[in-house]
Amino acid sequence: MLLEIQQVSKAFGGVQAVSDVSLTVHPGEIVSVIGPNGAGKTTVLNLINGFYRPDRGRVLLEGIDLTRLSPSRVAALGVARTFQNIALFRGMTVLDNLLLGRHVRMRSGVLASFVYWGRAQREEVAHRARVEDIIDFLEIEDLRKQPTGALAYGLQKRVELGRALALEPTVLLLDEPMGGMNQEEKEDMARFILDVNEEWRTTIILIEHDMSVVMDISHRVAVLDMGRKIADGTPDEVRADPHVVKAYLGETAGPVGVATR
């Protein structure tokens, strides 16, 4: 297994955001975490990438304990993420935002960069080449020199995905990548997520509200409710799970996929 979340709990004051959640993610999987608002989904992502420290439990990446590491160390180990509310440098161009995403992969020090030729120059070319691969992949060739703040919302989300990809992650954490998008933009984004997973074998943990998308693209789905995991399995298993139906719909039963739209 690639990523192992072992019985983590996290409380904020009196609120138990996450209790005793375990989740195992295998290499190359797309795992979705779903649940009602306030179920603790984003908290789980924050516990993985080191924004929060769990009160109890551990998070292991290929056997390395991430629990006590800073977010930048976790990123350097290959865990990248995007945010619910886009976190880009709005005044900077798409290209510069993506190059910044390479930051943790940059080796040359300040002095070497200042001198520029030799290793620093070779490194810069290599980083640019990698960023160009991503630009090609996400089909944003026409946006290179555009300030990200001026882009349409759906394109900003795409650039943010690109910025996360620039890190060459082994695990990609996506927090509502399709939030606020129209149907066409959602379909494009779903396509990109599948392509990232296929082309670069990137493992993906996804939080998403749009149930049809989740059920279409996930290999496995974990369901949180009130900070607890109440189900974990293939989309079909989860859809049929009585606990899930109850959490989403109260007592009146019905198929999840239909009712949440």
């Binding site: 080449a129 160009e132 630009i135 060739e141 396509r191 599948l194």
Partner: protein, 656 residues
């Protein structure tokens, strides 16, 4: 066949070639290291020499031969402007096959029709999007044996067999080249000038597309006739950015480029054409009117958005540029004071604008495929772009009439090229004869008999010849409109006058058998949207924006401007703004953006009736097709305005 003008196929260029592949081979053997193609990929221009191109063409050609492609077999090509698509077109010709380019934005149903009707055995598909269409249509494509794809992204888990990467085909071809070293040359040598070089499916404003068969002789002579009048040097740069399924594009980036040895540049993607154009600085350009119209609108809107100083410079010097251009065209002298002011304009406005639009070293630019408003031609000539009209049909290889540098007359498309015989029938239809007239429609002899009678190709266009022998294209013969009082008018002429406005994207003028002329107008979403933002005018969708009274006022001014130089009886009296854009997916407009008048008149019949019964608004339900093929119906109330009085606005609601 005509005995005038251009002689034998090969001609005096020093090359003996009588097929397009022979030109490519001979030019490569002479100078293998000269650049032939450039592609902008991952942010840099990647160059292919003539030797590189011939190597790829050879690999694909022998790969096709190894799969059993026989002489006359068809290969469909569904791709954007990429070197691989052009290699495959040449390679198919080398192997004795016939390439059939397909519009890459066609929907699955249309792709299926063309691929199946052409009986293509193989298909080149650019990427996953095209492969998905073919998979969707596979049940209706029994003759397609294999689909080669170029860009493998997203196709990793698709089953192989029917699908195969282009690189595998090329590897097969290289293997064949090792085993049969003389095969490539034999294949090239076997080609004959009257072989079909290309089948170009015309989008047609009525009925199903028809596959026009063009021979190597047609295409080579077409290019050579053009070269007799226009200077194009070996090694000149051109940019390939229009659909390869449009014959105008193949006539340039395949025939003219192959015959003359030009460097063909492929932009990164359709959205980057303008910056890429600027990097290349092509010597010659051909583009259909909509490209010139869009570019002109964009310039006007950007000027509107810039500083007062730039606006002043533009408003002051643009009329000077146009005045000088007009005097040059009419051969009138240019007074010294005007020349001086023009020089200042050249420094401040014309040269910077030309540089902006990638026209820095452009010798000339052509517009063709449909008429372009004289105002727009004058605008470009005013900033020093030598923009000229060219006229022709797919069926006579696109180059039939064109303006020469010393005799550009606004409103005409110039004189016939050397070797083209042109006359008008008694009904006023433009007919042509010559060696560029095609070999017929594929599997449609009836349509061929309708188009070519006694050797004359009937264009379906109504025309006039002015005293100097310049052709004036009036409109489609069947579209020429007669009002109730007998006044005749050419709708396209009025529509182009309207489309001169940056705020109007499409327009359809009606009036057949009616008392006056009326217009249904599509606003330009981008430009009107910007205009609305500047005025803090809130709007939600296209339909909402189009029904704002303020937008009606804006368009009213444009209609009045268009009316200004029209004779009284043909002026537009009433207009409305359509609640949706005319869309090729709804079959309202062709992929080359020509109106399908029959479809529109039928679909919007209530609008047209409402023009003439004095109503000020009309309720209507229109069907629209989403990208994914789902359909929905829009219920709208659309306002009708009379030109010269102000009335209400409409409202719109959508229901799936």
């Amino acid at each position: 066949m005509s005995a005038t003008g251009v002689g034998p196929v090969a001609g005096p260029s020093g090359l003996r070639a009588d097929t397009l592949p022979k030109f490519v081979v001979e030019r490569t053997r002479a100078n293998p290291r000269r650049p032939a193609m450039r592609e902008r990929e991952k942010g840099i221009w990647r160059e292919y020499t003539r030797g590189d191109v011939l190597d790829r063409v050879g690999a694909i050609a022998l790969g096709l031969a190894a799969l059993g492609l026989k002489r006359g077999d068809k290969v469909a090509v569904i791709s954007g402007n990429r070197p691989e698509a052009v290699w495959t077109i040449y390679a198919t010709q080398v192997a004795g096959g016939v390439p059939v380019p397909v519009y890459q934005d066609a929907i699955a149903k249309e792709v299926q029709f063309v691929v199946d009707h052409s009986e293509a055995r193989f298909v080149l598909a650019e990427d996953q999007e095209q492969v998905d269409k073919l998979l969707e249509a596979r049940g209706g494509l029994p003759r397609v044996e294999r689909v080669f794809f170029d860009d493998p992204k997203g196709l990793r888990h698709y089953a192989r067999g029917w699908l195969e990467p282009l690189t595998d085909l090329m590897a097969r071809g290289r293997e064949a080249a090792r085993r049969f070293p003389g095969l490539f040359d034999e294949l090239v040598a076997a080609g004959r000038s009257d072989d079909v070089a290309l089948i170009s499916y015309t989008s047609g404003t009525t009925g199903l597309p028809k596959g026009a068969m063009l021979t190597h002789a047609n295409m080579i002579i077409g290019a050579r006739q053009f070269l007799e009048r226009e200077r194009v040097d070996e090694g000149d740069e051109l940019v390939s950015s229009l659909p390869l399924a449009w014959l105008g594009e193949t006539a340039w980036s395949i025939a003219l480029a192959g015959v003359r040895g030009l460097v063909v540049n492929f932009p990164e993607k359709p959205e980057t054409v303008l910056p890429n154009l600027r990097e290349i600085g092509p010597h010659v350009v051909l583009a259909p009117p909509r490209i010139w119209e869009n570019s002109h609108s964009e310039i006007l809107v950007r000027i509107e958005d810039s500083t007062w100083l730039k606006r002043w410079i533009f408003r002051h010097f643009m009329p000077i540029g146009e005045e000088v251009a007009r005097r040059k065209m009419e051969g009138r002298p240019i007074p010294r004071s005007l020349r001086l002011r023009w020089l200042i304009g050249e420094l401040l406005l014309y040269a910077p604008l030309r540089d902006q639009r990638g026209a820095r070293r452009m010798r000339y630019a052509f517009t063709g495929g449909a008429p372009l408003a004289p105002e727009i031609i004058l605008f470009y000539r005013g900033i020093g772009v030598n923009l000229k009209q060219i006229y022709g049909q797919t069926e006579n290889c696109a180059f039939c009439c064109g303006q020469s540098d010393d005799a550009v007359k606004l409103g005409t498309v110039g004189r016939p090229y050397p070797g083209v015989e042109l006359r008008l029938t008694d009904e006023g239809e433009i007919v042509t004869r010559g060696r560029t007239v095609f070999a017929g429609y594929y599997k449609n002899p009836e349509a061929t008999r309708g188009a070519v009678r006694d050797g004359w190709l009937h264009s379906g266009d109504a025309g006039l010849l002015d005293p100097d022998g310049h052709l004036v294209v009036v409109d489609r013969l069947k579209d020429v409109t007669r009002l109730a009082d007998g006044t005749t008018l050419a709708p396209q002429f009025l529509e182009n006058k309207l489309k001169f406005s940056p705020y109007i994207r499409e327009a359809m003028v009606v009036g057949q058998g009616r008392p006056f002329v009326a217009a249904m107008i599509n606003i330009d979403m981008a430009n009107v949207g910007k205009w609305a933002e500047r005025r803090n005018l809130p709007y939600t969708t296209y339909a909402d924006l189009a029904q704002k009274p303020e937008v009606y006022d804006l368009v009213l001014r444009e209609v009045e401007r268009a009316n200004r130089d029209l004779p009284e009886p043909t002026r537009i009296r009433r207009y409305l703004l359509l609640p949706k854009e005319l869309d090729p997916d709804d079959e309202e407009i062709t992929r080359t953006r020509k109106l399908r008048r029959g479809v529109i008149a039928e679909r919007y019949a209530p609008f047209i009736d409402a023009f003439y019964d004095g109503r000020t608004e009309v309720g209507v339900a229109t069907r629209i097709t989403y990208e994914d093929g789902r359909t929905a119906t829009i219920h709208a109330t659309v306002a009708i305005r009379a030109v010269g009085e102000a009335t209400g606005s409409g409202s719109v609601s959508a229901r799936a």
